[in-house]
Every structure is written in structure tokens, then in C-alpha cells.
């Protein structure tokens, strides 16, 4: 029998009558996110076997993993025990751990411009950076997919460089266009579809973030790395991108 030595950082809490939530630590970091991803992979693997009738669904996020179970076949004690046994060596740099650290890198093309990024001008004013510098900072680094939620295919990417980590708009837009690349604090994302939203829009991405009829449905998964690549307007249009008629140009009172 496997020894049960839960790590000090593995806290399993109650979420609801048929849900437990595993908390890793209290702040987000790529190390913590990697641990969430490892735990998710281990549980998904077990869902094909030992946990097949017990675990219904998982929600990985920044530093937690919610496990929803089937109350007609199991109970919270049993799920808790199975999770502890399954995840007991999560702290160790086990072979599974090192394999999952080689995250997939997904490149997403972005047409950054005043035309496609209506908040660039305001960000430039607030940060004293030129539009070119803002674009350069945003596309220079790799981001980690911390969580997927809010809407189908909405991937929370981080961490945005502090120099351009602007807070949400005071008044959210009623209509953020599909493909909008946007920033909110240390997070960035591509809006998978038209929706209301309060993030600062800096460009447009022509790639579908969620397509129910495509395989895969989404170009990214939690734990993947994302790198944005600058493209021209012509390339954006050639990749199937569409410029929305009214991007809701930011009318900052100070302008």
C-alpha cells in the first residue's frame, strides 16, 4: 500500500456537497500552476481507471483544483483519501513532474495597432511608454495559461509585465469584439467571442480561441505557454481576421 504523506502545501477543502477543492498556496506563480497541472494530469489519468465512476469533472485554476464527484457512487472521505494517495508525491521531483514541465508553446499572431487596439493610446498616456514600446513589451515574453473560464475558451494568461499591467476600465464595454487581445492587471487574454468586458484592448488575434467543430476545440490548455507574434494588417486579414466596424474607441475624458 502506498504511504499516505500529504505534503504540507496540499490542502483539501470542502467546496460543496459533491465537490472538494485542493488549495496549493495562496499566491499564483508558474511553479504553483505547474503543480496544479501535474495534479490535474494525475487525476485525469486515474479517471480512466481507479476514479472512473467517482470523479465527474475538474476545474484547474491559478492555485487550486476543484474536484467534482459522483455522490451516488462515493463520498467525500473516499475521494479525499484517493486524492491524497494519488497526489502524495506531488512535492517530489518525480519523473511525472519533470515530463509535464516541458509545456507546449503556442504562438498566437496579433495585429497590434491604434485601429485594432483602441486602448493603446490611453495606456501610452498613462504609462509614458510609446505605443511601439507597449507592443514590444507585450509580445516579448512567454505567458502561462493559468486558467480557462468566464466564457468558453477564455484563457487567463500571465504574468503581464508590470509596466503595462493596467487595471480594468472603470466602465466595461458592452461589446468587446471576438479576437480582442486585452490586459487587466497582470493578466492578458484573447476574447474567444463577442462579449461584454472591461479589459484594455491592445490588438486583435485572428485565431479562433474556441471552435466547437475544430480539433482541438481550443488552441491552448491550462499549463501551456503562449507567445504573441506581431503581424501586419494584411497578414491579419489573410489569416481570416475581421476588423469590427465599431471597436468602441476609448473616449477618455482627458483626451
Amino acid at each position: 500500500m502506498l504511504k499516505e504523506t500529504p505534503s504540507a502545501n496540499l490542502n483539501i477543502h470542502i467546496a460543496g456537497e459533491n465537490a472538494l477543492i485542493i488549495y496549493f498556496v495562496e499566491q499564483a506563480s508558474s511553479e504553483v500552476s505547474a503543480k496544479v497541472q501535474q495534479a490535474e494530469l494525475l487525476i485525469r489519468h486515474a479517471m480512466k481507471d481507479d476514479l472512473s465512476t467517482d470523479v465527474i469533472d475538474l476545474i484547474p485554476s491559478y492555485a487550486s483544483l476543484m474536484v467534482m464527484f459522483n455522490l451516488t457512487t462515493t463520498d467525500h472521505h473516499q475521494v479525499r483519501n484517493k486524492l491524497r494517495t494519488l497526489l502524495h508525491n506531488l512535492e517530489d521531483k518525480s519523473p511525472i513532474a519533470s515530463n509535464t514541465e516541458q509545456a507546449v508553446l503556442v504562438e498566437l499572431p496579433v495585429y497590434y495597432s491604434i485601429e485594432s487596439g483602441p486602448d493603446l493610446a490611453v495606456i501610452s498616456k498613462r504609462t509614458n511608454l510609446s505605443v511601439e514600446q507597449i507592443i514590444d513589451i507585450h509580445q516579448a515574453q512567454e505567458y502561462r495559461v493559468y486558467a480557462i473560464g468566464f466564457a468558453p475558451g477564455f484563457a487567463y494568461l500571465g504574468d503581464v509585465d508590470e509596466r503595462i499591467a493596467l487595471p480594468r476600465l472603470n466602465t466595461p464595454r458592452m461589446k468587446v469584439p471576438k479576437g480582442a487581445v486585452a490586459i487587466a492587471d497582470k493578466q492578458t487574454a484573447v476574447y474567444p467571442d463577442v462579449s461584454p468586458g472591461g479589459w484594455n484592448i491592445i490588438g486583435l488575434c485572428p485565431i479562433d480561441m474556441f471552435n466547437a467543430t475544430a480539433t482541438p476545440i481550443m488552441p491552448v490548455n491550462v499549463g501551456d505557454k503562449v507567445k504573441f507574434k506581431v503581424i501586419t494588417k494584411a497578414e491579419f486579414l489573410a489569416l481570416g481576421g475581421e476588423l469590427p466596424e465599431n471597436l468602441g474607441v476609448n473616449t477618455c475624458p482627458s483626451q
Binding site: 456537497e17 465537490a19 484547474p60 491559478y62 455522490l71 467525500h76 466564457a151 468558453p152 487567463y156 474556441f210
Partner: protein
């Protein structure tokens, strides 16, 4: 669209949605569960049609649905008290009826409760999206086209009625009222609510606000404060009670966002979210704390009562 017949939507009513027991296994791409708000009433509708318990049916909110049968089938309506008629003749809820091609089925507006369920023999036959027929309008997923029913929609089903009609005796039917006790497991960020705040929460009466829908029930009453403003966004379970900055609780239902960053004080048992989902603006609720063991017991007791309750043959 495949050529098919079944039931034709003459009037969609306020909000009528194709639902099965819900969508599970798609949280990782951001899809929520959907499914019937009052799971109990949904399952009774299917049992009355001698179906599998998760067969695809229609959830009618508030009322106003009218359908024309294009084939022979058996139907049953359960849940909120909406006047039902077939070809203009008043019929009972909580029992099945055989219908023939050409019959007109009409539902009026609910006099008690909010949501009713109309099931047909063998269930509606629709292609699944992400493993389920559950409609979530916000996501554009499920049902015929990811939307609520509209005039002219055709809901395909089998051209076969059941040989016997069934009823759930009146004394065994769920009763709807204007108030509910919501048994709640303290969970999530419970420790960030002081014992005083928790006592206030569990001893105060709340009123259902005008914002109540399939995503969540926003309540009004005693303000509850938390010692943290927000948390790292995390998975939200069905029934979770979120306390935003204004201190007014929101009970998150089937179409909730899958992740969110507001503190949560606990989660309501599924037996009681069924009851909450039948309440509307102005109705009263209060929360009662229960342990996880008691929540499990409540669930199993309810399930075994459902399984033990027999239906009765009728004409």
C-alpha cells in the same frame, strides 16, 4: 438539419429551453453544467413517460409554451403550477397523456413556482454538443442552436406513445411555496467570515431580488462582510454562495461561470437548490448550516425517497 418530425413550437413562451441532466466533463474548456434548475421535477417528468431519468426534455420558465404534436407520443408536465391544456381541454400536471399527431399542447403562466418540465416518450432526439443537449444560452451551446426555443422550431422525437398512462398521486407531489430553507455546507472561504458574520448569515432572512436566473439567485437582506475582498479565481461548484463587495449573497446555479474570484461562504445542497429555483422575486429564504455528512444524508434520503415512490397507473 436532418429531416425529422416531432413537436412544432407554436409559441415559445418566456424562456423555454431544451435540457438534459447537464453537461459534465467540459469545465476545462470553460463550459458550465447547464441542465434542469429543478432536477427533481425534471426526473419526475421523465419517469412519468417511462424514460431514462436524464432523457432530453423542455424546461419552461414562467410559462406560455405552445406545441403542436406532429406524431403520436406520450407527454408529461411536472414542476411549477402552469395550467396545461391539450386541444383546449384542461389537463393535470404530474401525469402522462397520450397525444396524437395534430394535438395542440398549451401551457399558461405559473401560479406557483417558476419552472416546469415537459417530457415526451423516449425523450427529444437531438445531436449532443460536448456530450449533452443542455442549452446554455450565454455559451451558445446545446439544444437546437444554443438558443432558447423560438416559433417554428421542430423538436424531433420517436413516433411512439406509451401504452399506459402514469400519475404521481397528489399527496406525493412536491409542494411549492413562497419560502425555502436552504441547507448549506460551510465551505471555501468560510474562515474569512468572522463567527459573528457567520451567525448573522445563518440567522437572517433573505428576499429573492429581481435578479434571479439560471446563472444565479441574487438575494437581498442582512449584509455579510468578509475580511478579504477577493481571492485568486477558482472553481465554483453548483449551489456556491458568493458574497461580493456589497455583502448581498448570490447563490450560483446551473449556468454559473465556472471560475470566479469572489469569496464564498458555503454551498447549498442540491435538494434545496431545486426549491430555490422555483422561487421568484419577493420570496423568502434562510440558510441553515449542515455538515458534509448531513449534506450527504440529505442527498441520499431524497434519492431513496424518489426511487421508492411508485407511480400509479391511470386512464
Amino acid at each position: 438539419m436532418p429531416l425529422s418530425i416531432g413537436f412544432l413550437v407554436k409559441q415559445p413562451g418566456m424562456l423555454s429551453l431544451i435540457q438534459d441532466a447537464g453537461r459534465f466533463g467540459a469545465f476545462n474548456i470553460g463550459l458550465t453544467n447547464g441542465g434542469p434548475i429543478d432536477l427533481g421535477a425534471f426526473r419526475w417528468a421523465n419517469r412519468l413517460c417511462a424514460n431514462e431519468l436524464n432523457a432530453t426534455a423542455i424546461e419552461i420558465s414562467v410559462g406560455g409554451l405552445a406545441l403542436t404534436a406532429q406524431l403520436d407520443s406520450t407527454i408529461a408536465v411536472t414542476g411549477a403550477n402552469m395550467p396545461l391544456s391539450i386541444n383546449g381541454q384542461v389537463k393535470e400536471l404530474w401525469r402522462s397523456y397520450q397525444v396524437k399527431a395534430g394535438d395542440l399542447i398549451e401551457l399558461g403562466f405559473a401560479t406557483q413556482g417558476v419552472r416546469s418540465y415537459l417530457a415526451v416518450a423516449h425523450g427529444f432526439m437531438l445531436p449532443e454538443s460536448f456530450g449533452s443537449n443542455a442549452t446554455v444560452c450565454r455559451e451558445g451551446v446545446g439544444g437546437l442552436t444554443g438558443e432558447k426555443l423560438k416559433v417554428g422550431d421542430i423538436l424531433p422525437c420517436a413516433n411512439q406513445s406509451r401504452t399506459q398512462n402514469l400519475t404521481l398521486l397528489d399527496r406525493l407531489r412536491p409542494k411549492f411555496s413562497d419560502e425555502a430553507v436552504l441547507h448549506t455546507v460551510p465551505s471555501y472561504q468560510q474562515q474569512h467570515f468572522s463567527s459573528h458574520q457567520q451567525r448573522l448569515f445563518f440567522s437572517s432572512e433573505y428576499t429573492v431580488s429581481k435578479s434571479f436566473d439560471r446563472m444565479g439567485y441574487r438575494l437581498e437582506g442582512q449584509k455579510i462582510s468578509c475580511d478579504i475582498d477577493g481571492i485568486l479565481s477558482e472553481g465554483i461548484c453548483h449551489g456556491a454562495v458568493q458574497i461580493p463587495a456589497d455583502g448581498q449573497p448570490i447563490v450560483l446555479m446551473n449556468d454559473r461561470q465556472t471560475i470566479g474570484g469572489y469569496p464564498k461562504i458555503g454551498a447549498v445542497s442540491s435538494v434545496d437548490t431545486d426549491k430555490l429555483g422555483q422561487l421568484s422575486q419577493g420570496c423568502k429564504v434562510r440558510f441553515e448550516p449542515i455538515s458534509m455528512e448531513q449534506a450527504h444524508n440529505l442527498f441520499h434520503l431524497n434519492l431513496s425517497r424518489f426511487n421508492r415512490t411508485a407511480l400509479t397507473l391511470c386512464d
